[in-house]
């Protein structure tokens, strides 16, 4: 499973070389997430309606290596947008991927853009 973890690397907005057309906007619940498949990767995409922002990160929780983050609750900790893993409530910053309530490795985050009511995720490969 560690090898799976290594396939996820954060992508900076300026490094995007490919915008993957994931799914129409209405497929994503308001203030919630859903999982997108891109090749062999699973990406959790969050429609943070309250902020008016979209976020994407790996679906894999680095704690126990389960593909569950897209089902986590989103929210905010002192202004930092975050997702809480549904298994053990480890929460990660949606901006930086940093683990906010412990010392786990950071998760990989990806840029998101919306065009013509479609959600695109940015990759750099």
């Amino acid at each position: 499973m560690i090898s799976i973890l290594n396939t996820y690397e954060a992508v900076e907005p300026e490094k995007v070389s490919l915008w993957f057309k994931a799914a129409p906007v209405e497929k994503f619940p308001e203030n919630g997430g859903a999982c997108v498949k891109y090749k062999d990767k699973q990406i959790a995409v969050f429609n943070f309606t309250r902020e008016g922002t979209w976020y994407a990160c790996q679906n894999l929780c680095p704690h126990k290596m389960e593909m569950v983050l897209s089902r986590g609750m989103i929210g905010e900790d002192q202004g930092e947008p975050k997702v809480a893993c549904p298994l053990h409530k480890n929460s990660f910053s949606l901006k930086t991927g940093k683990h906010l309530n412990g010392d786990l490795n950071s998760i990989a985050t990806y840029p998101v853009k919306i065009e013509n009511d479609f959600v695109y995720i940015g990759f750099s490969e």
Partner: protein, 838 residues
């Protein structure tokens, strides 16, 4: 720059590092640490937890990165073999050499293995490190394959031996504790308390053999038994030795430090050895002719050594070290403090013993009745902290000191004052040596107004955690004394308690989370307030979890229980555990079709595990077609009402418990609450349905039903308390309606009824007053609100299956039809289970 080398990365060695880096200027000292074990320092005190969860990382004192972040050079798996005092260097097993200015020895101890004939046989283990545990576990697995009912002996009935017995029992072996002395825990307990503990442990399946001297260990190559005397044999398949510890003092011996006659490196009250550049702390240090095998004195020694090295020479080890201990041994509280055994010429003892409840309490009081000298508690140690403080601070005893262990039984003489009565110098957290004064100052002067802030600032509660209840009280009381209202806000987004939010939602008729947050909260919410508010909406409007899915905990959002590999389990309601053969066949057929692992739950129903997200609506469609409804096993809501078979079949039954339980379960099904609620109905006082460990329970007696409330199993088992006696079913139901509704409206989030009652001012008498005597004048309202919930019930899975929009949520990917291909199962006893976590 000076170099400090620490030899040993155990709990005390780690504590030295922690205290050192918090006080030192990093440019003036370099810290190098050597550990012989492959892992970084871990919490040995809670070793048996490793068996419960198999998670070694959770035991570690700090992750490896912590050492890096604090510029500590850490070498694990690296044993220091020699100290050269003349050149001030050490060498390691791999022949590396390091210079030191100060050397701190914290090598701890190793298990003492007595020279008994046969200790070298296969199947003989010690109990000390995670590696020891893993070896023991591997051997246990092996013998379980070949022996039908394998037995394991534990040599030593002390504290560690009993912990080892628990570990062995968890491995699935029959444990036999062998003790040389005529009682268990001979160093901490007197004969009577030891007997109380013994009876309790025996009732849990641990066999105890006292006054046994082992002559030899039998077996050809591997252990098959133990011989105590002629014709006194015990057949066992494994042996764990836990017969005490010996200091790992060989480094001190070989470099010529002054040693004790029976081992240990002699230190003074600065923790200095006979070489002023070398310190010894923890279980290798011989201080006052004693080796101290407890964490708290070890931590204190670490603190003294740090200060001495940094030149704060006034920090000295206390002349007398308090050996008081409190621990939970296999779920049983055991504590002793001060002088636990006391000869009659020094004072009098007050003893309370109740073997039926496995309780023993003893306090030793000076002849003039003014001072507490020590004591022993078995079975219930909740008063330990206060008793210990009274002893340590020589506080005056109340007029009737027996109230200290029996509780106040009327009259004016209260047993305990509040934690605020302690002197400022009282050490509240003994692991971290934090005083009451420091805690109160931190609240008053530094604005640390929560337990979380206090523990960050002072480190109190971060050791064994035993002082937490006291710290909670101190924070609360200090805030009160400042005239501040203690706000129990649920999180940073709402400055209200759950009860206040409940009233706001109800009075302002707010119907969704966003309006509530915009109206009375701030920010964008979090995983604490979202489900708490969802529960409030459910309690007021009886809306299902489907309407505002993204504010629900994951289990509620998908109406199923998430399991360790991200798959879900499915539990249909089987009210009171009554199920027809036809329904059993249906569940069997469906479970087989979707290849689900099935197990009978503790609540008398059937759980089907291993369903993937997209399979849930398919499975439920079939279950609903067979007449099943959701069991809400995923919700903070009514789970089950357990029943015995009652007077319909049982020859002792006083009334029809199954019928009543079915009615009650159907009455309360679907009702959401601050935490899960469970019920029980027993047909007679034999109590086969265990109604008294449920949130509400009914027991049939001559002349009606007795009603009990606020019990639970779980981490802190608590018996339910009697609400009313000998009433008919209608009255019993009415009172429970009111009690549940009152609990739902007033409890903090995630608080079971037992914990709620503990905090409720006035306790059970107050609940009786509200529910039976209607002292608040709200009974009618409670009745109506409960009836509303009962009348508006609907099965949320039926709703989900029939509504295409809700049903569409059940896919793993939004952009592909496929299932998650990372889920792996392995086989287990003709069924399947998730592949274990790495």
């Amino acid at each position: 720059m000076k170099t400090v080398i620490v030899v040993g990365n155990g709990m005390v060695g780690y504590k030295f590092c922690e205290k050192f880096v918090s006080k030192v200027d990093q440019d003036s000292f370099k810290l190098i640490v050597f550990g012989e074990e492959p892992r970084v320092a871990y919490d040995r005190v809670h070793l048996s937890e490793y068996f419960e969860n198999g998670d070694a990382e959770r035991l570690s004192m700090a992750p490896r990165e912590w050492y890096q972040e604090n510029n500590i050079e850490l070498y694990t798996n690296e044993r220091v073999t020699d100290i050269h005092r003349n050149s001030k260097t050490i060498t390691t097993l791999s022949d590396k050499t390091f210079n030191y200015d100060y050397l701190v020895l914290a090598t701890g101890s190793s298990p003492f293995v007595p020279q008994i004939n046969g200790v070298d046989k296969d199947g003989v283990f010690v109990y000390r490190t995670i590696e020891d545990l893993e070896d023991t576990l591997a051997y246990a697995e092996k013998i379980k394959q070949t022996v039908a009912k394998p037995k394991a002996a534990i040599l030593g009935g002390g504290l560690l031996g009993l912990e080892a017995a628990k570990a062995v029992m968890d491995m699935g072996l029959e444990p036999h504790v062998i003790e040389f002395a005529p009682k268990l825990m001979p160093r901490q307990l007197d004969t009577r308390s030891s007997k109380v503990l013994q009876v309790k442990l025996e009732s849990m399946g641990i066999n105890i053999h006292l006054s046994k001297a082992t002559n030899q260990i039998l077996g050809n190559g591997h252990v098959i038994g133990m011989e105590f005397g002629e014709d006194d044999l015990l057949n066992v398949d494994m042996l764990v030795i836990s017969a005490g510890i010996r200091p790992r003092d060989e480094l001190g011996k070989s470099c010529g430090l002054k040693m004790g006659t029976r081992g240990g490196i002699v230190v003074d009250n600065k923790m200095r050895t006979s070489d002023p550049s070398i310190f010894a702390i923890g279980e290798i240090a011989l201080y006052n002719q004693m080796i101290y095998g407890l964490v708290a004195p070890g931590y204190e020694m670490a603190g003294v050594a740090v200060d001495q090295i940094l030149g704060n020479e006034e920090t000295l080890m206390a002349a007398e070290i308090d050996m008081s201990t409190k621990l939970k041994l296999i779920g049983v509280d055991v504590a002793s403090f001060g002088t636990p055994f006391m000869p009659a010429e020094k004072g009098h003892s007050i003893i309370f013993e109740n073997k039926t409840e496995s309780l023993y309490k003893r306090i030793n009081v000076s002849h003039d009745g003014k001072k507490l000298l020590g004591g022993i508690l078995v079975g219930d140690a909740k008063d330990y902290n206060m008793l210990l403080q009274m002893y340590l601070n020589e506080m005056p005893l109340p007029k009737n000191p027996e109230n200290l262990i029996l509780g106040s039984r009327g009259g004016e003489d209260v047993s305990f004052g509040s934690a605020m009565d302690l002197p400022d110098t009282a050490v509240v957290c003994s692991c971290e040596a934090v005083t009451k004064g420091q805690i109160c100052c931190s609240v008053k002067d530094d604005g640390n107004e929560s337990v979380k802030a206090i523990s960050k600032a002072t480190k109190a509660t971060t050791g064994c955690g035993g002082c937490k209840p006291m710290v909670v009280d101190l924070v609360k009381e200090t805030l009160k004394s400042l005239g501040k209202v203690v706000k129990e806000s649920i999180c940073e987004h709402f400055e209200y308690s759950r009860q206040e939010l409940y009233d706001i939602v109800k009075l302002r008729k707010i119907e969704d989370y966003d309006s509530l947050l915009d109206g009375v909260g701030k920010g964008h919410g979090c995983e604490v307030c979202k489900p708490a508010v969802a529960s409030i909406f459910a309690s007021i409007y009886n809306e299902t979890a489907n309407r505002q899915a993204t504010i629900q905990d994951t289990n509620d959002r998908y109406l199923a229980n998430i399991q360790r590999n991200g798959t879900y389990s499915v539990v249909p309601r089987v009210a009171a555990g009554e199920i027809t053969p036809k329904q059993l066949l249906a569940i069997g057929r469906i479970a087989q079709k979707y290849d689900l692992y099935t197990k009978i739950t503790g609540g008398q129903r059937i759980d089907m595990f291993g369903a993937q997200l997209h399979e849930l609506p398919l499975i439920w469609e079939e279950l609903i077609a067979e007449g099943f409804e959701t069991g809400q096993a995923y919700g903070k809501s009514l789970r089950t009402v357990k029943s015995c078979v009652g007077s319909t079949w049982c020859r002792y039954g006083m009334d029809e418990s199954v019928t009543f339980a079915i009615d009650i379960e159907n009455r309360y099904k679907g009702i959401r609450s601050p935490h899960k609620i469970k019920g029980g109905v027993s047909g007679c006082i034999r109590e086969c349905a265990e109604a008294r460990n449920k949130d509400f329970g009914f027991i049939a007696v001559e002349g009606g039903w007795n009603v009990y409330i606020c019990g639970n199993g779980g981490a802190n088992p608590q018996h339910a308390q009697l609400l009313v006696e000998k009433v008919d079913k209608v009255t019993a139901t009415k009172y429970v309606d009111r009690f549940l509704m009152y609990y739902i409206q007033t409890a903090p989030p995630l608080t079971r009824t037992a914990a709620w009652l503990d905090k409720l001012e006035g306790g059970i008498d107050y609940v009786k007053d509200v529910v039976i005597n209607d002292c608040l004048g709200i009974a009618e309202e409670l009745d109506m609100e409960m009836q509303h919930l009962v009348d508006t019930y609907k099965c949320e899975w039926k709703e989900a299956v029939e509504n295409p929009e809700i049903r569409a949520r059940y896919t793993h990917f939004v952009n592909a039809e496929e299932a998650d291909d990372t889920i792996e199962f392995v086989s287990l006893r003709e069924q399947k289970m998730p592949k274990a976590w790495a």
